[in-house]
Every structure is written in C-alpha cells, then in structure tokens.
Amino acid sequence: MKTRGLSVKNVVAIGIGSAIYVILARFTSIPTPIPNTNIELVFPFLALLAAIYGAKVGFAVGFIGHALSDFIMYGQTWWSWVLATGIFGLIIGLSSKRLDLKNGIFGIKQIIFFNIVQILANAIAWIAVAPVGDILIYSEPANKVFVQGISATISNGITIMIVGTLLLKAYAGTKIKKGSLRKED
C-alpha cells in the first residue's frame, strides 16, 4: 500500500518520539559544574530517531517535541529554539539513507560520518538558526544569544559524540545484518 505524504509508521514515530522527547527533556537534564550548562540526553535521542526514520520525522519530532516540552515546562515557547531543534533533526535525518542503520551496520566509517554530520547540524542549529531567530523575533542582545548558541553547540556536540554514538551502535546491534544469512551448502 502506497500512501502519499507521511507513512503510518512515520506518523506514529513522530507521536511517540515527541512524547519521549518531552519526558527526556523534563527529567534527564543533568547539571554540570559549569553554570547554565546542562548535559541534555534528549539530543542524542533525537539524533537516533532522525537517523532511523529520516529527515521528515527528525524535523517533526524536534519541532513538536521541543514546542510541547516548552509549553508544558515553562508555559511559553521560544520559537527560534524550537525551529533550531527541528532543523537539527532534519539535518541528521538527511544522512539516514547513507547511515543504513536498519541493516545493522554501524562501523568505524559510519561512526566518523555520523559525528561529522552531528557537529555540523549542531553548529547550524545553535550558532546560526537559534541566535538569528532570537534577534529577529525577540530582539535580544546579539552577544548574549551567540554565547548561548556556542555553549549549546559544544555541550550538545560532546554529549552526542559519546551518548549518541553509543545509542546508534546499540540500535544497530538489535538489527539483523544484511547478508548475515547464508545458504547451507
């Protein structure tokens, strides 16, 4: 059965993914000794989901998940950062075809490729999209929002490099490798 637009699986992945996003954003943010910098385990999760289901799901989970969690936690949304999270999911999702996680392959080559993509995605989302949005929508001082963006890039980049890589590796491990079945002689 061919459906136009989003497939059923994608719709469900967006729904459940956003729900997990909200819970992780709410409960698994670990404060570090550096002020105002938290280790956010939600971004490695978003990277995993985007890498499995692709760009559309990556964008939608980032956007809806972040918007909902902002609403539920703060009663207000920062649309510039919501959009940035969506773009982050989108960029990682674009690499999902080349990563080929569904066939259980995640070796050194894929790990390096994934990390290059994630650092790029972090930089675009937090240093370009979010601060520019903050300045245009909320007219906040430029140096404040860029410092916030750079610190988010560094902390999220490192978190994803460690936790995200682990998550993707673990997910690939649960899938059956392509060509792992051989015909008996």
Partner: protein, 277 residues
C-alpha cells in the same frame, strides 16, 4: 516519590473558559501570544498583562495546580533577564537613543533605558504565560488535536500531536518504573552522586526506555495500519465541536488585538514604544 504535578495537564472543570471551543482557545492563544511577542509597546503589554491575569482569576484555577511551574518560570525569567543585562548593559540606550544613568558602575552602568527595556521583557512573560497556562489547563488534549486539524494543519501531523499527548503520561510512568528498578539495584541518581556516576545512572534508565518505546512504535503503527489509517485525504474527529456565539466574540477580540499591534507599530515607527525622546 515523584510529584505528579511537575507536568502541566488538562484538568476538567466548569466555567466560561471551559465551554469555549478548543479551536477558539488555540486561535486566541496563538494570535495574542504572537502579538505580545512582536510588540514592545509598554501600554499594550500592560493592558494585556492585566487582562490575562484577570482571565486567570476567572477560571478558578487553584494555586497548587500551578505553584511548581510558576516557581520554575520565575526562576528562569530572572536568570534570563540577568543574562540580558550582563551581556550588554548598554542595549537599552541603543534602542531608545537616549541615556540617563541610574547607577555608575563602569561596564555595568545601569541606565533608566536598560531598566525600561528589561521591564518590557518582564511584561512579555506576564502577558503570554497566563494565557498559555490557561490553555493547557482547560483544553482536552483530543480536542486540541482536532482543533489543530481545523486551523489547517494536516490531520496526520495533528494525529501525531494527539498521540504524543496521549503517550506522555505512559512514558512518564515507564520512566519512573525503570528508574525505581535501577535504584533498587543500587544506581545512585541524586545530587549526592558524582557527575560521571549520575550520567551513567541516567543512561541506565534512558537506554531501556528508548528501546522499549521504539518497539511501541512498531506495535502502534501496525494496529493503525490494520484500521486503514491514512488511506483517505481527510478524517473526522470524534471530539470535534461546533462553534457558538461566544467563540466568535473571542476570536474577534484576538483579531482586534493583532490589529492594535499593527496600528501601534505604525504609531511608534517600529516595535519599541519610546517615552524618552
């Protein structure tokens, strides 16, 4: 034990606001918070601030329902204002093109203009937060999804939002169940533990949570496929309601408020209201 009230959610009640159509409330919330986001006109923000606090009183919401979140928001707000000030104490005078010094302190010299700018930022919170909180507390999640569809968002995305709202409590429950199981095994998650231990401990919860939830995606999508979800271009909603007279008044009010912001933009020559020049 965990506190249920840490996440905001719908609670049934009665009154004028509960009787409004969910679409009306969504449109009102989006338009008015967009208006408050755009304008920095102090007069408009003060008026909306008073109005939204009045609405809040009208809905008879109890303090314990929102006390946690209000404390959270106030802490965040103070921190944000402080950062705006620390990073660029001269921002106010750049905006209002004048400078009247309040406290001399080198880089941190405080001007009346900066205080006025920060006051406007604060007002923005006071305007939009009560309206959003009210929306969350008085709107049934299923009706919320139906109203998203009604304002033109595709039903698949609306359904995904409905699914998310439906599964947040479930996933929260499994989160606490896994957390309790890990703590029973001796994983320390409180502030007492070292940072590296806390990260490892949290990962011990997150990993199983994510992988069981990924299985859930497969199960639910199979069930929905069997019920032919997504095979038609449109779908109807069980909880959809029709509009009545009050709904039109409220939506009209929201449109008028947006027009006022446009008018003020024209009067103030921009988004800032400048009393100094």
């Amino acid at each position: 034990m965990h506190d249920e009230s840490q996440i905001l959610g719908y609670q049934p009640g009665s009154g004028f606001i509960y009787q409004l159509n969910a679409t009306t409330k969504l449109v009102f919330m989006l338009l008015v918070s967009a208006a408050c986001m755009i304008t920095y006109d102090t007069r408009f923000l003060v008026a909306i601030g008073i109005f939204s606090i009045f609405l809040f009183k009208e809905a008879n919401i109890k303090w314990r329902q929102i006390s946690f979140i209000v404390k959270f928001i106030v802490a965040f707000m103070v921190l944000n204002l402080l950062f705006v000030y620390l990073f660029q104490p001269t921002y106010g005078e750049n905006i209002y093109h004048s400078k009247s010094i309040l406290i001399h302190a080198g880089y941190f010299t405080l001007t009346i203009q900066e205080v006025f700018y920060l006051f406007n930022l604060l007002l923005k919170y006071v305007c939009s937060i009560p309206i959003v909180l009210l929306f969350l507390l008085t709107t049934n999640p299923s009706q919320f999804a139906a109203s998203l569809n009604r304002i033109g968002i595709s039903y698949k995305i609306s359904y995904a939002v409905a699914l998310a709202l439906r599964y947040i409590p479930d996933i929260q429950n499994s989160y606490w169940a896994i957390s309790a199981a890990q703590q029973a095994r001796g994983v320390e998650l409180s502030k007492k533990a070292k940072l590296s231990k806390r990260i490892k401990g949290t990962l011990n919860i997150v990993m199983p949570l994510i992988f069981t939830s990924l299985d859930r995606i497969d199960t639910i999508s199979t069930a929905m496929q069997l019920r032919r979800f997504g095979s038609k271009k449109k779908r109807t909603w069980y909880v959809a309601e029709s509009f009545n007279e009050n709904d039109f008044w409220i939506m009209g009010l929201a449109v008028v408020l947006v027009l006022v912001v446009v008018l003020l933009w024209w009067l103030d020559h921009g988004r800032f209201y400048n009393p100094f020049v």
